[in-house]
């Protein structure tokens, strides 16, 4: 039998996107939480927890984008122009977020501007990513292998909702990360924030889970017919269990578990999206096979991917190991 390369590539790109969402998710979450925390010293600590790793985290987004370009050029060339304004906004916001990391610690008088660049950059980038996600879920108008819709097709109540929902999600990831990396009063602030954020995220997930099948018969059929419902039931059940466990765990001092539980929630959310849409890569009707590049392209690229990505994961793990442990006030890297 021949290997179904497009399906493998769908999963490999999904992996890169999942890595990005989970890793840059908490970095951006730290920025989203900035307005809730007062005091330069506290904010220094918050930034220092992600400073050594944010650059590597963001590289997964480039891998996701470039991988889509090489393995599914049709998806890349339809989704990117369709999401033109939110994507450009995201890129510009990420520039501000990135340079804030580097220059904030060098500034005295202008520090408040770099706080704004960091926090505002993170919020706008996250909101834009959520809008892009919502816009893709809503579906894009494609004919003759090109995007045919308008400049503002992405603009819909659903996409704005997913934008806000992603902000809540990244903020919760950020809070989980910061609980792990800080201590004392600062850590307590994140414990306090965790419950309302969990509530927001779970409510958003419920709304999206109800909204998509109601507005799309195909998704409803995917989930709510037998035997699919039996196969896919573990996803919502695990979401419920994890949410309950996060809610309860906040009062105890399981300071590492919270972060990994939230990562689990994100993983389940992404799995839910894959279940709803597989094998579509551009809803409502372009499949991953339609969008795949030539077999000679996908097979040439997969060799590099399977050899190099494990090595990349080793560096990444090593760098997290080097910078492990709590970050304390005054022991900045600057």
């Amino acid at each position: 039998m021949t290997i179904d390369l497009p399906v493998i590539w769908y999963l490999l790109i999904g992996f890169a996107v999942a890595m990005y969402v989970m890793m840059d998710g908490f970095s951006l979450g730290v920025g989203i939480l900035f307005p809730f925390i007062r005091g330069d010293e506290n904010r220094d600590v918050m930034m220092n927890t992600v400073a050594p790793v944010w650059d590597g985290n963001q590289t997964w987004m480039i891998l996701g984008g470039a991988g889509l370009y090489g393995a599914f050029p049709l998806a890349y060339s339809v989704i990117l122009p369709a999401m033109y304004l939110p994507l450009i906004l995201m890129l510009l916001a990420l520039i501000f977020r990135g340079i804030a990391f580097e220059f904030r610690f060098k500034s005295n008088r202008s520090r408040k501007w770099f706080d704004l660049a960091f926090s505002g950059g993170a919020m706008v980038a996250t909101f834009s990513q959520g809008v892009v996600l919502g816009g893709i879920i809503n579906g894009l108008s494609v004919s003759e292998r090109a995007y045919q819709g308008g400049t503002f097709d992405w603009f819909s109540p659903f996409a704005l909702f997913t934008g806000v929902a992603l902000m809540a999600g990244y903020a919760l990831l950020g809070a989980g990360w910061l609980i792990m990396k800080t201590e004392g009063d600062l850590q307590n602030r994140f414990y306090q924030l965790a419950r309302p954020l969990t509530l927001l995220l779970v409510a958003s997930m419920i709304v999206i889970s109800v909204w998509t099948p109601l507005s799309n018969g195909r998704i409803a059929e995917r989930w709510f017919t037998f035997p699919n419902i039996a196969w896919f039931a573990p996803v919502p059940i695990l979401v419920a269990l994890l949410s309950w466990s996060i809610w309860n765990g906040v009062t105890h001092s399981h300071e590492r578990r919270l972060f990994f539980k939230v990562l689990g929630l994100f993983f389940l959310g992404l799995s839910g999206l894959v279940i709803s849409f597989f094998p579509l890569i551009i809803p409502p009707d372009i499949t991953l096979w339609d969008a795949a590049s030539a077999r000679a392209s996908q097979s040439f690229l997969i060799v590099g991917y399977v050899i190099l990505v494990p090595i990349v994961l080793i560096y990444t793990a090593y760098s997290y190991y080097v910078f492990r442990g709590k970050v304390r006030a005054g022991e900045g890297y600057h």
Partner: protein
Amino acid sequence: MLGFEALDLARFQFAFTVSFHILFPAFSIGLASYLMVLEGLWLKTGNEIYHNLYRFWVRIFAVVFGLGVVSGVVMAYEFGTNWSGFAERAGDITGVLLTYEVLTAFFMEAGFLGIMLFGEGRVSKRLHFSATCLVAVGTLISMTWILMSNSWMQTPAGYEVIDGRFEPASWLEIMFNPSFPYRIVHMGLAAFISVGFVVGGVGAYHLLRNRHDQAARKMFSMAMWAILVALPVQIIAGDMHGLNTLEHQPAKVAAMEGHWENEPDQKGMPLVLFALPSMDDAANHFELKVPYASSLILTHTLEGKIQGLKDWPRDEWPDVPLVFWSFRVMVGLGMLMLGMGVVGLFLRWRGRLYEARWFQRIALFTTPVGFIALLAGWITTEAGRQPWVVYGMLRTEDAVSTHSVASMLTTLIGFMVVYAIIFGIGIYYMLRLIRSEPMNMVPSGGPGHERQPKRPMSAADGSFEDQN
């Protein structure tokens, strides 16, 4: 609106974002290799001057690399957002090459940059040097993949067209397409030369402040040697690249030369030194010519001729004045840079390299000259291959995404404002780093005593604002 079409705005936006971006990778490529040499010499000789110079330049490297990263992310998405017709038809080839760049270079650079910038005193000297080498190699690998992709667009090979899309037929032919070897040598040398002039200019700045500064003398001397060796090689490489272009993209060379038509009774082709080329008249005004010189340069014979632009239909002409003039800027600056190398050698021979203040002032003024030549060269080759995005196969107008003028203008203004801000901050900060004294980089307390930064661009101590 304002007489622009969306295509013009898309081209301008790409030209603006890629020109801004290319400065930083070119700077990183040259500087990473220079840092590798400095650290290697320090480990080999134990001479603390090299250690000080490493510390001095690594802080500047951190800023340059950071600006390259943030402006590079934009490029990875712009192929799709703005050039979706190209991405859809050529993604099977160019998307694959870009992904290989991410996998082989970006992650490696990100992985070892931390150790390079902040690992001194935490890891062994040998491991630290390995990290510097890996970052330097990473910048070269990155350049290799992206130039493969660009060269393939200039001189496509190893593909077959199926339903209007380019599909790979031979990866070896795609990767080692006809213009790639020339382009990579020319661009690699350009990056080294650009950094040579930056290092020379900064050395000159410190020599002008204190001519006995040992580190300033060392960097000025190293830069002048590098310039002296690299420029002649670059001129030969450029000549060979030009001949390769003549073979594969003759219309580009005709535009570079301002060569409109072959006059049958004329013996040999003159070299047009100065002219105002007019596309409407298909002729040059105010020409200043050197007889036979173009024949000599392009065919290496006295009477050889090349095709004139009139041999191609009017809608296949590039923007002749732009290509003509950007080429002359590049070549003119190349000659100026060669002159700097020769004068530097002469002064060194006379024992006056560190004394001749007039020469150091010129070196200070010519700090950005390599980058200007590099941009001019890219404008020549990119504007010169118009109207094609994949040469002879896919026209730029068929490659562009269908955005409205209003949205193109909005994003263009967004990019210009944001890039102006970050460029301003970056340059301001780099100038402050350059002003610190290069001989005082290694504190007497020894490694492990100073503060240990861990972020790119934060390798420097202190604030970029006055502490008041």
